[in-house]
């Protein structure tokens, strides 16, 4: 239980942010709790912090995949939600969400784990069960696709970062 508490405090936000992008904020909260519930029921691997983080993200990813699969089976639309973004950045957020939605699911997971949760290539490799080279390659592909989508978006062109 002590291990679970330490892991929860250290990684809850990263897991939550990642899950938010996949299943939306409400479900992400429940799934984050489910991740740590599972942690309390299993033995935490004897490894370093990065290894434990990767292990947590693997659990989170599997839960998210099951959740999305169940939603599809039930015919529920999976909406990528976010909180209260400032109006000026809302258009970019919408364009980005749409572009994320169009990514290959594995590429999206790799991208989100890197950009939203800050995992290293090695951690992503463990969490997504890919080779480090595949992680690099998928990340690159996702970035190119998102970059192309944002550069092509009129909303993004209004943003100084994308001018």
């Amino acid at each position: 239980m002590a291990d679970a508490d330490v892991l929860f405090t250290a990684h809850r936000d990263g897991i939550f942010r990642y899950l938010c992008r996949i299943v939306g904020q409400e479900d992400a909260r429940e799934l984050t709790q489910e991740v740590f519930l599972r942690v309390t029921r299993t033995e935490v691997p004897e490894t370093d912090d990065g290894g434990r983080r990767a292990w947590l993200f693997r659990i989170a990813r599997n839960l998210a995949l099951n959740h999305v699969r169940d939603d599809r089976r039930r015919g529920v639309a999976v909406e990528l939600k976010d909180g209260s973004a400032a109006p000026a950045t809302q258009a970019i957020a919408v364009a980005l969400r749409e572009a994320l939605d169009l990514l290959n699911p594995v590429d999206r997971d790799v991208f989100l784990m890197r950009e939203v949760s800050g995992l290293s290539y090695e951690e992503i490799s463990f969490a997504c069960q890919l080779t480090p080279d595949a992680v690099r390659s998928r990340l690159h592909r996702a970035r190119l696709q998102l970059r192309g989508a944002l550069k092509g978006s009129p909303d993004a062109r209004a943003d100084p970062s994308w001018r």
């Binding site: 239980m1 679970a4 508490d5 929860f8 809850r12 939550f16 942010r17 938010c20 992008r21 904020q25 909260r29 984050t32 709790q33 740590f36 519930l37 309390t40 976010d82 909180g83 209260s84 973004a85 400032a86 950045t89 970019i92 957020a93 980005l96 969400r97 890197r114 950009e115 939203v116 290293s120 290539y121 690099r136 390659s137 990340l139 690159h140 970035r143 190119l144 998102l146 970059r147 192309g148 944002l150 550069k151 993004a156 943003d159 970062s161 994308w162 001018r163």
Partner: protein
């Protein structure tokens, strides 16, 4: 990106992009490969766009804070629930273990006591046998 900039996606050297991406991601980078990659203006633009993309994602991730205190108490609740469940399981297991291991005790002996009240009286005799001295009272064959 400006409209007058060349269309570079098709010309991007993937290996160079991977090198600058690794730099942006805090991964190990070989300095010579990085120098070569940064010589390419298209790769430099790619690096700038990576940063812009990261900032956009970061702004998108500004989520309303979650009530993690609730979650913390949730973890504590799990602890208490686990402890309570452990107690119930051990009590139940102890009960059944006791049932199976202890030899069955002998059935208790039952003694019946009849208390006669003061008003109770003996029934009246139906036949009175009088014993007289010198009379042979033992039974003989054919007699009842």
């Amino acid at each position: 990106m400006r409209d007058d900039e060349p269309r570079e996606s098709a010309e991007l050297n993937e290996q160079s992009c991977l090198v600058v991406a690794a730099l942006a991601d805090g991964e190990a980078v070989e300095p010579g490969a990085l120098r070569t990659a940064l010589d390419d203006p298209a790769v430099r633009n790619y690096l700038v766009d990576l940063i812009a993309l990261r900032q956009s994602v970061g702004r998108m991730s500004d989520l309303t804070p979650v009530q993690w205190r609730e979650r913390q108490s949730f973890l504590s609740r799990i602890g208490w629930m686990a402890a309570a469940a452990a107690i119930v399981v051990s009590l139940t297991a102890g009960y059944f273990a006791g049932q199976w291991t202890v030899e069955a005790a002998p059935a208790p002996t039952v003694e019946t006591f009849v208390t006669m009240g003061p008003a109770a009286t003996a029934p009246k005799p139906t036949r009175v046998v009088t014993l007289r001295p010198g009379v042979n009272w033992t039974e003989k064959e054919g007699e009842q």
